[in-house]
């Protein structure tokens, strides 16, 4: 059974077809890379998979369950997590508060108006655990507003990992990072165990190619090429889309 299956997915904004008949089949434990030029519809595809956008037609399955009509807020509860290309964090709070929110999102405790959030031992513990995985536990109490861009990227990943997902969607996790930071994040992603299936959008080919086993090339909302790393790199259509000849 596949971890994530997308069948004949279509989405149009008026006359603009942003996703046209996209099929995707990601096996459990796989590392999939989605590439494509700007405006190819990569983030839109993520938004469809996570349910932030509703598709016009087609279906999405998570471990065999049809989740096409499941509200987006339910999908994290079904072991799907994502990060955002544009950093979407809580700037007024500390790093650990950000990660705690991710943990509480999956806990029934999130409805409790009476207990002190900071005193919930296991939440704090798990948050520290997640921060340790991304190498930020020493900055746990720092307000997010006082952290660097690279640290925020890692907080994004820590929040996704804290939810212990089976399918992790990473939207350009290397965007805007320096070479050193990129290497750190790369190491961090490589260390994620194989029981997590990962789908990553990335422009940055040198790090991304190393990461992925299979690659899907999107262009104008359509899947142009799909195959192993070597196949896609060697394919003339990849050259055409990326280099224009």
């Amino acid at each position: 059974m596949s971890a994530l299956t997308v069948n004949a997915l279509c989405k149009a904004f008026g006359g603009l077809h942003v996703t046209t008949d996209v099929n995707l089949n990601v096996e459990p434990g796989e590392r999939r890379l989605i590439i494509g030029p700007n405006g190819a519809g990569k983030t839109t595809l993520f938004n469809l998979i996570t349910g932030e956008l509703m598709p016009d037609s087609g279906s999405i399955q998570l471990f065999g369950h049809d989740i096409t009509r499941v509200p987006s807020r339910r999908r994290p509860h079904m072991s799907m997590a994502r990060t955002y290309q544009i950093i979407t964090l809580f700037p007024n709070d500390t790093i650990i508060h950000n990660v705690s929110l991710a943990l509480l999102g999956l806990s029934p405790m999130r409805w409790n108006p009476l207990i002190d959030m900071k005193r919930q031992g296991h939440i704090v513990e798990q948050a520290h655990e997640a921060l340790k995985r991304v190498g930020l536990s020493h900055l746990a109490e720092r307000p997010l507003g006082e952290t660097s861009y690279g640290e925020r990227r890692r907080v994004e990943i820590a929040m996704a990992l804290a939810q212990n997902p089976k399918v992790l969607l990473l939207d350009e996790p290397f965007a805007g990072l320096s070479i050193d930071e990129r290497r750190d994040v790369h190491q961090l992603l490589l260390a994620i165990p194989r029981d997590v299936t990962m789908v990553m959008i990335e422009h940055n080919m040198d790090v991304a190619l190393e990461f992925a086993e299979r690659i899907t090339l999107l262009h104008f909302g359509e899947v142009i090429v799909e195959g192993t790393r070597a196949e896609v790199v060697a394919d003339p259509r990849t050259r055409e889309v990326y280099l224009g000849h």
Binding site: E52, L89, F90, R110, P113, L114, M117, K118, Q120, M159
Partner: protein, 328 residues
Amino acid sequence: MSARVIALAVGFVALVTLPYWMPGIYYINVSSQILFSAIFALGLNILAGYGGLVSLGHAGLFGIAAYATGYMLQHGFGHPIAILTALVGGMASMAVYAVLSLRATGIGFIMITLALGEIIWGLAYRWISITGGDNGINLHGRPQPFGIEINTANSFYYTTLVVFLVAFAAVAVFVRSPLGAALMGTRDQARRMNALGYHVWAIRFWACMFSGLLTAIAGILFVYYTQFISPQALDLTASAEVVLMVIAGGAGTLLGPIVGAALVIVVKSVVSGFIERWNMLLGAIFVAIVILMPEGLVPGTARLWRLAWRKAGAQASREAERKAGTGS
């Protein structure tokens, strides 16, 4: 943090001993007004401050609770029934408000709540068989909680103070809780909260209900205080006034709405005795606050205090350095 604890302790002692040092009954009554206005402002602050949802129709809810109390008493029901009806009526109206207005956020939310508030004002003004129209409803007597008369200024003040302290404690507990954190999360990043598995709409709905409860409590205290309710208490000015209390004091802070309520009520009922154009003075104060402390009086003062503290600290260390330099 210890400065905060000391300030809270001093405030608490000042409130408990207030009738003993406040010169005259009039000022004790003003203090009661400040306290129930503060409950009202605390209620609005749940939405406007912590939820990022500014309501311009909260006086309507306040009015529904006050009218419900008055109406039930007028028709011969006892105080417990009247209060219960007011609470249930206020909460039910808030639920309707929430279902209608939570379809939008930002300006849309403001406009829908504004419209709902105006509808309620219109009903209070025109549905004469129930509300008495412009004449309003007169009350006769106050309840006797646990057999205690609360007809004097002092006893009513203490009753209001107890209710206020409970409301304040409830808000303080709420903002530290997971649900409170979730509400602030929906204010800052609604989309992310949804992607993390939170039901954004439901969180906002429960915040509305909590806000509605505090508003209804304030409305009941108000009507028992004035012994009278008329459409004037729920017009747009009243809704705007409580928004100003929250913003002037500091939206999204625990103490801000209380300080804001004190400011507005003091200018309205005390300073207005000396200055005829007190409305203009209130306006000027708000302009000054917005220019000098856009975050509100409480966080603004805290910021200036920290700044002064740091400057003094730096000065002291520089002086110590200089002394050490000349000494060697």
